[in-house]
């Protein structure tokens, strides 16, 4: 049933009885043209765009748990395309454009909310670095504004401009940035892919990748062997584990990133705000919770939880910037597993094994990339060549030195 005000009203009168499962809980068939490993946002989007853009519908998405149970459901929901390097800019802007038309495209309200992303700066050096980035965005036709202190004050009058240890001197804002209801992205893509014939197979863990003559031929799974002509790995957080099944080592470490939400509150802040002198960023969800986070804990982890030192660090940043948060209560904190790559940028590429494709290394920026990652990964799988906007995300760039290191931190994943 198509989703609309009319269907919702109609069902209200009929006791909501006619709704069907939003996607089929498919039983895996024995063979597919393409198997996507990973039913997160990226995997589901890839399946959707394979069907929509390339007419490839004999596709299965295999998810070891239930769809959307990885990072697409544990992030802080921010979207933005405020990158500074040419390898990144066109890709993230492509993603932003897809966000802007997403709901009408997939007939699912993911609550794309372009409320603005504001990065605060606290020194002349930071201002100039933001100017450089903002100018790069403007060169690419992306909106970016450098705000002075008074303009920042108009947006977020409640932060501590004067007494803070690091006074706020201004900010870089991308007004088209914002937030999206994260779970809805997974569900919406799942429903749209399902409608186009994609099989979404849950509780199906991949345990091996079968090869013949240097090409993949299928996957071993907890639900039996499934033949596949092409296989796309899209399992951020666990990419190394999948890669090890074909004896590949990746330029990736898995790290824990914690995220936080407060109790529900009446509207306080109307944008996404990032502290430039500490590890803290914050926005407010439509339900009223302040959603915030900071830096990764900094050690390899698959545990989906972190430790107190980082929690304190994030709250200290929060209170330093916004002293009105003191009596706001933390409701819940959790951790996600990040594919931290060696230059802080992702990989969307073929591998040396025929028919095997890799979408990985998203660090903590994968959510905003969901539409474009799916779009470009689908392109790479269908055409066997990169999409122009993701052409820089090559797996061999570490060998060739074509690094995309926005933060300049080098080959140390926990610093990106």
């Amino acid at each position: 049933m198509r989703y609309s005000l009319f269907s919702v009203l109609g069902q209200a009168l009929r006791g909501q009885k006619d709704w069907k499962p939003q996607w089929r809980d498919a039983v895996p068939r024995t063979e597919y043209d393409v198997v996507i490993i990973g039913g997160g946002g990226h995997g589901l989007a890839t399946a959707y765009y394979l069907a929509k853009e390339h007419g490839i519908t004999n596709v299965a998405v295999l998810e070891k748990n239930v769809i959307g149970s990885g990072n697409v459901g544990r992030n802080t929901t921010i979207i933005r395309s405020n990158y500074g390097l040419p390898g990144n800019i066109p890709f993230y802007e492509h993603s932003m454009k897809l966000w802007e038309g997403l709901e009408q495209d997939i007939n699912y309200n993911a609550m794309v909310s372009q409320r603005g992303v504001l990065n605060l700066f606290h020194s002349d050096g930071q201002r100039d670095a933001y100017a450089r980035r903002g100018n790069a965005m403007r060169l690419a036709g992306i909106d970016a504004e450098l705000l002075d202190r008074e303009q920042v004050r108009q947006m977020v009058p409640f932060i501590d401009f004067d007494n803070a240890r690091f006074p706020v001197k201004g900010g870089l804002v991308q007004r088209r940035g914002g937030t999206v209801r994260h779970d809805a992205v997974a569900w919406g893509y799942a429903r749209a892919a399902d409608e186009r014939g994609v099989d979404i197979v849950q509780n199906c863990a991949v345990t091996g990748i079968a090869r013949e003559n240097g090409r993949v031929v299928g996957v071993e799974t907890s639900r039996g062997f499934i033949r596949a002509k092409k296989i796309g790995i899209s399992v951020a957080g666990s990419s190394s584990l999948l890669a090890s099944m074909v004896d590949m080592r990746l330029p990736i470490e898995s790290h824990v990133l914690q995220a936080f939400v407060s109790e529900g509150l009446k509207p306080l802040i109307d944008c996404v705000m990032t502290f430039g002198a500490g590890h803290f960023y914050v926005s407010q969800s439509d339900k009223g919770g302040l959603v915030f986070g900071g830096d990764i804990d900094g050690y390899n982890s698959y545990a989906q939880r972190g430790n107190l030192a980082t929690i304190e660090d994030v709250m200290e940043g929060g209170m330093a910037l916004w002293p009105g948060l003191g009596r706001v209560r933390l409701l819940r904190h959790w951790g996600g597993i990040m594919d931290m790559s060696m230059d802080g940028s992702p990989i969307i590429d073929r591998t040396d094994i025929g028919g095997l494709y890799l979408n990985a290394g998203w660090c903590y920026g994968g959510f905003k990339a969901t539409p474009a990652a799916g779009f470009c990964f689908a392109h790479t799988i269908a055409r066997d060549e990169p999409h122009p906007v993701s052409a820089a995300y090559r797996l061999d760039r570490f060998a060739t030195g074509h690094l995309i290191d926005e933060k300049g931190m080098g080959a140390q994943p926990n610093l990106h």
């Binding site: 090890s244 080592r249 330029p251 898995s254």
Partner: protein
Amino acid sequence: MRIRCPHCGERDNGEFSYLGDATVVRPDGMNASAEAMHDYVYLRDNPAGLHRELWYHGAGCRSWLVVTRDTRTHEIRDVSSARDVALARHTGDAA
């Protein structure tokens, strides 16, 4: 998380900073190949399970440590002085 520094005793992980995989070995000397160096600098096993990793006790004795830790549970099996481990490895290489 608590790490038992061999010199300082058990301390909160906030005193330490993390570098990463301790199993990769730097190709040393003028004969090292760029390919081997690339593997050393960039490629990681990144296991879900026991991981030998380098930590630095920056807010303590400034020792580099090799910690053996389970990345699924954070359980720590062993903490050794990195220098001792490195010396033993070099001795092993020579023998």
